[in-house]
Symmetry: C2
Subunit: 407 residues, 2 copies
Amino acid sequence: LNQVFCSIITIGDELLIGQTIDTNSAWIAQQLNTIGILVKHRIAVGDNKQDILYALDEESKQVSLIILTGGLGPTADDITKPLLCEYFDTEMIENREVLAHVTKIFIDRNRPILEVNLRQAMLPKNCQVLFNQVGTAAGMWFEKNNVVYISLPGVPFEMMHILEEVGLAKIKAHFVTPNIIHRTLVTSGEGESFIANRLIDFEKQLPNTIKLAYLPKLGVVKLRLTAIDVEDVLVENQFRKLQNLLSNITVAAEDIELEKIVFNLLQQTGTTLSIAESCTGGLLASRITSIRGSSKIFKGGFVPYSIESKVNLLQIPESFIEQYNVVSSEVALAMAHNCMQQYNSDFALSITGHLEKQETETIAWIGLSSKEKSVSKKINLFYDREKNAVLATNTALNLLRMFILQR
Amino acid sequence: LNQVFCSIITIGDELLIGQTIDTNSAWIAQQLNTIGILVKHRIAVGDNKQDILYALDEESKQVSLIILTGGLGPTADDITKPLLCEYFDTEMIENREVLAHVTKIFIDRNRPILEVNLRQAMLPKNCQVLFNQVGTAAGMWFEKNNVVYISLPGVPFEMMHILEEVGLAKIKAHFVTPNIIHRTLVTSGEGESFIANRLIDFEKQLPNTIKLAYLPKLGVVKLRLTAIDVEDVLVENQFRKLQNLLSNITVAAEDIELEKIVFNLLQQTGTTLSIAESCTGGLLASRITSIRGSSKIFKGGFVPYSIESKVNLLQIPESFIEQYNVVSSEVALAMAHNCMQQYNSDFALSITGHLEKQETETIAWIGLSSKEKSVSKKINLFYDREKNAVLATNTALNLLRMFILQR
C-alpha cells in the first residue's frame, strides 16, 4: 500500500486567538482525498518563526507532503517567505513573470502600485513558482529530503485557485497514490444513536478496510464509508446494504446539501418555488440562492418579520393571526398559500416560529403549498438562535423534497 | 512573565477529509484569551489511537493545558474514552449523576433510551467530571505531570456550554496567568496594502511587546493590536494613534460585525429598516436577523429574484426596468423606495446585481432610501458567487451606517 500522508500547516496569529475560522484546511483535505492522499495532521501555528520551524521539522518526519497556507500577504506581519529562504537554504530573487502580473493587476484596477506590492515578486531562488492568476502572492513548491513542501497564500480564493489550476496536477504527477473511496449516505428524520442501533449488525460484518463514520448536523445525519485500496464492487456492496437498511430515512446516496437536492428536483420537474420566512429571516432563501442557476427555479421571497408585514404584504387578516396565533399551522399555511399566489410559483414554503427559548414550547411551523394541496409540519427547536434557524430550514427543505417525490 | 500555553487537539476523521469545518478551535481560543491563556498550537487528528496518543505526548512537552474536543458521542466510531483510560492509567466507572441526567433527557423528549446512550455515564475513574447540562457526553478534567487535560464533546453547542458553565472558571482558578489585551479597529473602504503603507511609521515606533496584525475580509479590514502584560494605558495610547491615523476609514473601535453596528444605530435612534435584495437572495436580511432582538428594528424584506417579482411585488414598471437595466442605480433606488413604503420603515436598503462573472462588468448597485433622501452606490465584484454576496452585503451595511451617522 503506497499510502501518501500530508500535513497541513496553517500560519497566522488570527487562527490561534480565534479571530478567524480555518476553512482552508477542510477544502484542501477534500481535494487531496480525491487524488488519493490522506491528511494525517492539521496544525495551526502563530506568526512566530520558532513555532513554524518546529512544525516543519516535526511534520517532515511523519509525512511526505506538507502544505502551508498563510503568511504571504504584502503586510509587515508576514514572516513566512524569509523563513522559507532560511529553511531551504536559499535567497530571494525577483521573478519577472510574477512582477509583470502584479503590475498588471494594479493597472487593470486603476490603482497605484506600492513598494510592498512589488515585493510580492521577490521569491526564494530554489522554489518552483505556482503561479497565482487571481492575486499577487505566488505559491511555491520546494523539495528537501524526499518531502514536498507547498506554500500557498491564506486568502481562500487565491489558495483554491492555485491548487486547482496547477498544484493538484503537480502533486498527482509527483506521488504514487492508492485509491481512496468515500461513499456518503445522507439521512434525515432519525438521531445518530438510533441509526447506530439499527446498524450494529452491519458494523460487525464490515471488513476492517472499510470504515463507517457518523456526521450529525441539525436534522440531518450523514453516514460515510471510507475505503482505501478496496475493490470498487466491495465498497459498492457495503454501501447498498447501508442504503437498504436505512431506506426509510435516506435523503441522498451522495454527499450533497438539501438545497441542492431541492434545486435539482425543481429543475428536473420544471417547477418553481417561492418562500415566505419569518423567524429564519432570509436564511432559507439565501441557501437556495447560493446555488448557481437558482434564478431558473426560484421566483423570490418575503421576509415578513413583523405581524404588520404579514397583514399588509402577505394579506393575512389580523383577526386570523390573533385567532390562531402567529406561530401556528394555520398561519404557516396561509403564508405559504399567499406567497405562492403573489409570486405565481408552483410551490411555496413558509416558516413561522420563535428561535429563542420560549416559556412554553419553542417551536416553528413549516407550511408548504402547491396548486393541488398543502401540508404543514411542526418542529421542536432545542438549540440556540443560529442552530434553530438551520434546523428549521433543513426541515423545510426536506419537507419540500418529500412532497415533490411523492407527487 | 507567567505565560500559560495551551494546545487544542480536535479529534475526528471528518476534520481530516474535510467534511467538517472546525469552528470549535476558534471559539475555544477566544475564550482562553480572555482569561490570559495563549493557544500555541491547534492540531486536528483522525479517529486513530496512535495519532491521538502521539499528539498528547508531543503537546504535553510544550504546553501546560491541553483541550481535546470530539470523539465522545454514542456511536461506534468513537475511541476517545477508552484511550483516555489507558493514557491516564485508570478504568471506567458509572457516574450516577450523569446516568440520571442522560435518562432524564430521553424521558423529557419522550424517546426510548438505548444501551449506547446509557454508556455515556461510564467515565474514567480518575477524572473530574465537567457536567454537561445540555447533552449526554460529559466533559472530563485530568491532571498528569503538571499538565491539565480537558476532554470535551465535539458538538459545538455542548462544548461551549460546558466551558462556559464550569470549564473556564476551573481553568482560571488553576493557573496564574498574565494580562492579554487585544484591541481591534474595524475599517472599510481601503485595501490591506494601502493601509499598511499609511502605517509604516506607526509600526516602526510600536514597542516590541505590542503586535499589529491585519485581517482583511471582503470590503472590511480589521487591525488588531495584541499586548501581553503591558500597562493598559500604553496599549490605549497606541490604539488611539492608530485610530487617529485611520479615522477616515474607521468603522468601529472594537471587534464587532457590521450588522451589529447597524442594529445598534437603528436601536439607538429608534428607527426601522426593511430590505429588498435580489442577487444576494436573503443574505442581507439573514445577517440582520441573526442578531437577537432584531425584530425591534427590522420590519421585513423582499427577495425579488425575478424581474416579474420586481414588477408585481415591488411595483417597478417593466418599462422602467427595461429603460435603465435591472442592474442600475435607478432600479436600485426604486427598489429601496418602494420597499420602504410597503414595509412602512424609516430606511430601506436594496441590492441588485450579478454575482457571477459577466462579459462586461461584474457589478451590483446598492440603493438606500429614507424619508428625506436617497443614495445609491456601485460596487465592482471581483470574487466568486459566495464572496461577492458577502462583499455586496458588507457594502450595503456600511452605506447605511454612514448614512445614519451623517444625518
